[in-house]
């Protein structure tokens, strides 16, 4: 009996030793890893550099050239004769280049009012989580300039000064979960020329947007840009609302959406959206981006 008890004791004793020896090695690693672990940056808040019309907090990495085509057909309510808008189109062609991982320079040309645009976009804060320092949101600043080159035969005196407008926008986003990201984007616009004296040159707008991933490589995107009243008075403007669907494959991001804005540059869609969802002024469109690595990392 004594022997049995001893044998049993011995077995449990050895068993414990064996188990602890086996896993202690891994535990030792895990423990030292925990103490060393730093806060990780949250990546892929959005798939594209644009939610739909609004820029997102994302920028291309250093040395990456992003080529983007934004395309909007005509209004759906133009009817069957215009094939529900598909007969007409406006587009913007743009290039973004990552000067660093944080700073991007972009240029673009829209067919809408023959507008050229350029901007600088810089990441100021990046959302971080984990044991180290935590930052709740990613913040990217956008400073842009747009130049409308459309010829006005009746107003030949409108020189470059009158044709220019400026955008300063703060993009504040948080990836709430692996699927849901939300962005708040207050913007200040300055138009050098406004249609009438009752219109303000300085316009403030508040953008909101988000994406909800539905599979690993696709998401539903929505954005709404609120334009407070008493800023644009000489003609009827509406708040810009857009909804769409993103698909990502390798270096491409393909976005299809519907929107009531025809312009694809901030001064055009934030303060000059004349389309109304209620009246069916809905533009079907898509954005396609392709990234090219011009310089090699490492």
């Amino acid at each position: 009996m004594k022997y049995y008890a001893l044998f049993f004791f011995l077995c449990t004793c050895f068993g414990k030793i064996a188990i602890s020896q086996d896993s202690s090695l891994l535990h030792m690693l895990e423990d030292s890893m925990m103490t060393d672990k730093q806060g990780g940056r949250v990546t892929a808040t959005f798939k594209g550099t644009h939610i739909i019309n609004t820029q997102s907090v994302e920028t291309p990495a250093k040395g990456v050239l992003l080529f983007m085509i934004m395309h909007r057909f005509g209004k759906i309510n133009e009817g069957a004769y215009e094939f529900f808008g598909l007969d007409n189109a406006t587009m913007r062609m743009g290039f973004d280049y990552g000067l660093t991982d944080e700073l991007t320079a972009g240029i673009g040309r829209s067919t809408f009012q023959k507008t050229y645009d350029g901007y600088l976009k810089g990441k100021l804060l990046r959302q971080s989580e984990g044991a180290g320092k935590r930052i709740p949101v990613s913040v990217t600043a956008l400073a842009g300039i747009a130049y409308t080159s459309l010829r006005y035969s009746d107003k030949p005196y409108l020189n470059a000064k009158y044709r220019t407008s400026y955008t300063v926008q703060l993009l504040v986003a948080r990836k709430l979960s692996r699927n849901l990201s939300l962005q708040l984007s207050p913007a200040w616009l300055h138009y050098n020329l406004v249609p009438a004296a009752v219109d303000k040159n300085d316009v403030f707008a508040l953008g909101m947007g988000g994406r909800m991933k539905i599979t690993k490589r696709s998401s539903i995107n929505v954005e709404y840009n609120y334009l407070p009243g008493n800023q644009v008075n000489s003609f009827k403007v509406y708040n810009s609302f857009s909804a769409g669907f993103d698909i990502e494959t390798g270096g491409h991001v393909f976005q299809v959406h519907v929107t009531n804005s025809q312009g694809m540059v901030e001064p055009l869609f934030l303060g000059r959206t004349t389309g109304s969802w209620g009246k069916g002024d809905i533009y079907f469109g898509f954005n396609i981006s392709r990234s090219f690595n011009l310089s090699r990392k490492h």
């Binding site: 030793i17 020896q21 672990k37 990546t43 991982d101």
Partner: protein, 181 residues
Amino acid sequence: MKKFILYIGFCALVIPAASAQVYITRTGVIQFFSKTPMEDIKAENNQVYAAIDLSQKTMAFSMLMKSFLFRKELMQEHFNENYVESDRYPKSLFKGTFTGDVDLQKPQIYNIRVQGVITLHGVEKSISTPATLEVTADGLTGTARFNLLPQDFDITIPGIVRDKIARQIDVQVKISCKPVN
């Protein structure tokens, strides 16, 4: 009876002495390669934690998947976001044993065989691979090379990029461990 007590006493003496033969590193290197005619993909993690217990002939690895660095930033993002889902499964682990004799007194390269369980993308898979252990002046250097199949770890590769990602991923391990005191 006496023999048993003696035996226990002996074990109690030997085990603490034996566990002193643990070697560890926090800067091990694991690289993986995917070669296809369409695209070559290479990633490296040089913050791999590894430990080898010579007396027990056990070893363990632990690494953060986010520490794998790619040539292209976008590839790295897709690797973490779509393939290994490092937000959900941040770590990859290995726990195993090895066979083969390693004599600390003779500095040379020893061929060993490692077997154990890899945990990646939340899936456990046992593997067995030849490896080498070199006894050096200040520690132990280990190398290994083996293939892993993404589908073994429930990592699905969509049809559109199927031709750009190799069926078998070539994994290369190199660790230089120092004794733990």
